[in-house]
Symmetry: C2
Subunit: 229 residues, 2 copies
């Protein structure tokens, strides 16, 4: 009854009442109070996904690293800086949700120690020891209250589909969206090209705006979720 009313008002809302958690943007890994290691993620794809999920009726939580983007209307946003902060926020929000999408470009490594004072440039060379950050999406997929769908992204400069399928299996994901970095695609751009990979399927989406791709991906996820029900 409610769904029918909502559909009449807003169009089909296959995710009505579903909890969707999305991570977006880069993380910043502090080296000292002023310096950090980061990456070129703009957060556009994750924010587009949040908007698309909301349009399909979902309750959306967006865990965002530092980006210059406005929060889509009706979306709850948690702002974080480092990978460790993103892990805490993501695990807290993801437990028991319906769909978790790890779209953030989480830094793989962080400086082994962050200096409390600005490092002086007294030496000609500086060696920075880095340690691996936690693998947030693997931890989400291993939760006792695992989300019903755990979705990852794979951005690679080479051999994209091979690495993506490997990541899908190794991390126990339900779907991975693979894209090639470079040639004006992905980081910071409005256009992207994605291939959706599940354990038994592969669906290339043609090059389109991140907004269009986000809508297509969310529609696919709504279908996958209904097949699981």
């Amino acid at each position: 009854e409610l769904v029918a009313q909502a559909e009449a008002l807003f169009g089909p809302q296959p995710l009505l009442g579903r909890q969707v958690v999305i991570t977006a943007g880069p993380t910043r890994e502090p080296l000292d109070p002023v310096r950090y290691l980061s990456n070129h993620s703009s957060g556009k794809m994750g924010f587009a996904l949040a908007e698309a999920a909301k349009a399909l009726g979902a309750e959306v939580t967006l865990v965002s690293g530092p980006v210059s983007l406005a929060t889509p209307a009706g979306v709850s946003r948690l702002d974080v800086e480092s990978a460790l902060q993103m892990r805490d926020a993501a695990l807290g929000a993801a437990a028991g949700c319906d769909i978790f999408i790890g779209c953030a470009a989480v830094a793989d490594y962080r400086p082994a120690s962050s200096q409390p004072q600005k490092i002086k440039k007294s030496q000609d060379k500086l060696t920075v020891e880095m340690v691996k950050n936690p693998d947030i999406i693997s931890e989400v997929a291993a939760l006792a209250a695992r989300p019903r769908l755990v979705v990852g992204f794979a951005a690679e400069t080479q051999d994209v589909e091979h690495y993506a399928r490997d990541k899908l299996q190794r991390k126990g994901l339900d779907l991975i969206a693979a894209n090639a970095v470079g040639d004006g695609l992905a980081f910071g751009q409005d256009d992207n090209q994605l291939t959706l990979i599940t354990p038994d399927r592969q669906l290339p989406l043609p090059r389109a705006s991140k907004r269009d791709l986000a809508r297509q991906l969310m529609a696919e996820l709504a279908t996958l979720l209904s097949e699981k029900a």
Copy 2:
């Protein structure tokens, strides 16, 4: 005659016809195609200086690292990413100008080598070897066609004035604007507190908006320049 007309229209323009070159924002030092080392500079102070210099009649060139700020009206802007790119742009613009202000938070170090492919996170630890970046403001101060005034900034977390005066002498600057980082001041904030230090003077400016401080600093520089003439 022109000056009188300009003053009648726009107020006093002590920098009319003067060439002012300002660097602003952070730099990004690439580790591979997606990762970089950077810092928390927003570029606000440098952009405020460009606006203030323009208001005093100067022809302003702003050499900017990656920031999310609009170019002040009438200011020429050169966008760069890395410290090496900023050095090339700054030296090219600074030669023969009247006032050079190094306000950018140029990364002191860059990765010794930037990998052409994204580094795989196969290892638990990663050691990044960093080498020192060129000291842009020292190179500007050593130009044969040295700007008549070379002005630097010193942002420190401790012992600010000691480090600032040392920097002034070591680099052969005419003035240094020293500020303390932390306690809600400086990086990313709208307010700042500056102490202007010349070889024979020290002038603390009270805490104010970066816009106000920029106007005061540019007025001081206009006076210094006229004393040199």
